[in-house]
């Protein structure tokens, strides 16, 4: 199987979606300083994973489904969710995507195929397999994408689900975004394969499914790798484990503190915990967003002027989202008791 290369127009679309994720996440991050107190709890950003997210979602069709983790802002933006409603959700407002009941960790947009997230590491992986069972029964060639991090690969839910998904040949693609850190623990400190210098994709071998590792900073490579896995799943060939290597450019999440302490984004763990400034600076130099812009501009696919125009357009879109969310009212108090039961 080979995945058809993306034409110029689609490549520009990919770049724009990457930029939209980046700009959205920057807006979320700025909210902590520009609008203190507006975002509560714990927020996890997808900056650094844009190429992996968008490259994976190029193949998404109507009827397909996606489930992810608490680091969930990127996917719905690409699938077509309204950033205004997303930001309002993150601000806990009535116009939020989930009516202010879920927040940053639990964005859900069923109308766009985003069925939800679990905030418990690994717990959403079996949910994706269940959705894939439904797709298998319906026989419409629909596939399910399950996104999770490298840390989740040490959870029982991961191993139990990969076994069943392979056994039942479920149409699901497991995309493990390996960002090298489980919160503040290095992958090699908690993963036997990583410690042995093996790719984490090797775990697929235990479950008789293909396991591939891809440069998650290159959207075209991800497009091809995840595309092959999706084609295989659609054709009834069963699941694939894709290890997409990314570098999380922000810390795991914002500062964890009781009310009254201003929240902010601390320095990345590479610097704050391990003193590896060189590693972090190298990651910044490899930032997938400017990297892909460079590829498109130097390849003649996109002019610098057009690239700048896209940036301005996207910045305006996200600042409108912030303005909308700030104006959105808090939900009615009684709404806290709605939607407990169907």
């Amino acid at each position: 199987m080979s995945v058809q290369a993306l034409n110029a127009e689609r490549q520009i679309w990919v770049y724009k979606q990457m930029l939209r994720i980046r700009e959205f996440e920057e807006s979320v991050k700025r909210s902590f300083t520009e609008h203190p107190g507006v975002i509560r709890g714990h927020t996890h950003l997808a900056d650094g994973a844009e190429a992996s997210i968008v490259g994976s979602l190029v193949h998404f069709r109507l009827g397909d489904a996606l489930l992810a983790t608490y680091r969930c802002h990127g996917y719905p933006l690409v699938l077509g969710s309204d950033p205004k409603a997303m930001m309002a959700e993150i601000y806990g407002r009535a116009d939020g995507l989930c009516k202010g009941l879920g927040g940053s960790m639990h964005l859900t947009d069923v109308a766009h195929g985003f069925l939800g997230t679990s905030g418990i590491v690994g717990a959403g992986i079996p949910h994706a397999a269940g959705v894939a069972w439904a797709a298998q029964i319906r026989k419409r060639g629909e596939v399910v994408l399950s996104f999770f991090g490298d840390g989740a690969a040490k959870q029982g839910a991961f191993h139990e689900t990969l076994n069943i998904a392979s056994l039942w040949k479920l149409p699901v693609v497991f995309v493990m975004e390996n960002n090298g850190y489980n919160v503040v623990t290095l992958t090699a400190q908690e993963d036997a394969n990583a410690a042995a210098g093996e790719p984490l994709a090797i775990k697929a071998k235990a479950y008789a499914m293909p396991g591939v590792t891809v440069d998650g900073g290159d959207p075209l490579a991800v497009h091809e790798t995840v595309g092959e896995a999706i084609e295989r799943a659609r054709a009834g060939g069963g699941p694939t484990l894709v290890e997409s290597k990314v570098y999380r450019l922000s810390a795991h999440g914002n500062l964890i503190a009781p009310p009254g302490v201003p929240l902010h984004y601390p320095e990345h763990e590479a610097i704050a915990v391990f003193g590896r400034r060189d590693e972090y600076e190298a990651a910044l130099r490899g930032d997938p967003v400017p990297r892909f812009r460079g590829t498109l501009v130097s390849g003649g696919v996109l002019s610098s002027r057009k690239a700048d125009e896209i940036k301005v357009e996207v910045a305006a879109e996200m600042s409108a989202a912030v303005a909308f969310a700030l104006k959105s009212p808090f939900p009615r108090l009684e709404s806290a008791l709605e939607n407990v039961y169907a």
Binding site: K99, G124, H127, A128, Y341
Partner: protein, 322 residues
């Protein structure tokens, strides 16, 4: 009407709904391993599947299938096996509708036996009902008759929420009249198993039988106990219990779980708050003694509430002393 053992009545409920609705799935460990399995023969492997010993994945897959529009029934065999996957039961299944602002539904049934006080020792005998009843978004069903087992299972499958269906293992072979054809028992509607005006006794599962046996003996002494079986503890039909207490003024709660892990304690709190004016005596709770269920027969019997302890509690509440 047919005389059916409890366990066959549950199967009849599942069968009824699988025949009626092709979106109902049934799966679990050691199930459907041959073509002769009655559910496989009737509905095929697409909808009836054997799973590995992977409770987290089994229940998690049920959640996903439910979000995608199907109605899975997971055969878990023993309530304790849900403990292996407690995150999926209490922190995944009941959360998604809420956290998504009502965008998804998670209609699934977790079928598990409990309370197997027949020499199964410490890890297969728990009465874990109260662990689930307070979780917003979950419904919890505890049938005590074969007819209710069928009708409550059918209702559980049709319900749009995750339902924990707990059947007491010592009732497995108890026969009872079960309605033929479509049979549904509503949630949140307690059944008065025996009417009486002197004292209200509330019990679930196998404890209903013990409460009824005690009530029969007490009737010989001229004491008329009203025995109420809530049938579902989430939702809980507090109205029927409060109505009975308003009449009798006395309440005995029987629960197979240890003292501080009971449904009884929850009901006692609600009655103390909302029915205090009716009470002529303090509420008495008859619960298991605070120990892991022991293996040895006389010890097991000592730990779990029996007829004598129920009778003593009723006499106590009538004499207005503790």
């Amino acid at each position: 009407m047919a005389q059916l053992p409890f366990i066959a009545a549950i199967d009849a409920g599942i069968h009824q709904e699988m025949r009626r609705d092709t979106s109902v799935l049934y799966f679990g460990q050691n199930l459907a391993t041959t073509e002769n399995h009655p559910f496989v023969a009737a509905f095929g492997h697409e909808r009836v599947r054997v799973t590995p010993i992977s409770e987290t994945a089994e229940i998690g897959i049920a959640i996903g299938a439910a979000m995608a529009g199907l109605r899975p029934v997971v055969e878990l065999y023993m309530a304790e096996f849900m403990l292996v996957a407690m995150d999926q039961v209490v922190n995944e299944a009941p959360r998604f509708r809420y956290m998504s602002g009502g965008q998804v539904k998670v209609p699934l049934v977790l079928k598990a036996g409990f309370g197997f006080a027949a020499g199964w020792a410490g890890q297969h005998t728990g009465s874990l009902t109260a662990m689930f009843m307070g979780v917003p978004g979950l419904k919890v069903v505890v049938p005590s008759t074969a007819a209710d087992a069928k009708g409550l299972m059918a209702t559980a499958i049709r319900d749009d929420n995750p339902v924990v269906f707990l059947h007491h293992y010592l009732l497995t072979l108890e026969h009872g009249e079960v309605p033929d054809g479509e049979h549904l028992v509503p949630f949140g509607k307690a059944e008065i198993r025996r009417a009486g005006g002197d004292v209200t006794v509330v019990a679930t599962g196998w404890m209903v039988n013990r409460a009824l046996a005690a009530a029969t003996k007490l009737a010989g002494e001229g004491i008329q106990a009203e025995v109420i079986d809530p049938r579902t503890v989430a939702p809980l039909d507090l109205e029927t219990i409060l109505g009975s207490v308003a009449k009798t003024g006395r309440l005995v709660l029987v629960d197979q779980a240890p003292r501080h892990a009971t449904v009884a304690g929850i009901i006692a709190g609600d009655v103390a708050e909302h029915g205090f004016g009716s009470l002529k005596a303090p509420i008495i709770q008859v619960t298991a003694r605070d120990a892991t269920v022991p293996y040895s027969e006389p010890l097991e019997a000592y730990v779990i509430p029996d007829e004598q302890r129920i009778i003593a509690a009723v006499r106590g509440v009538l004499e207005n002393r503790r």
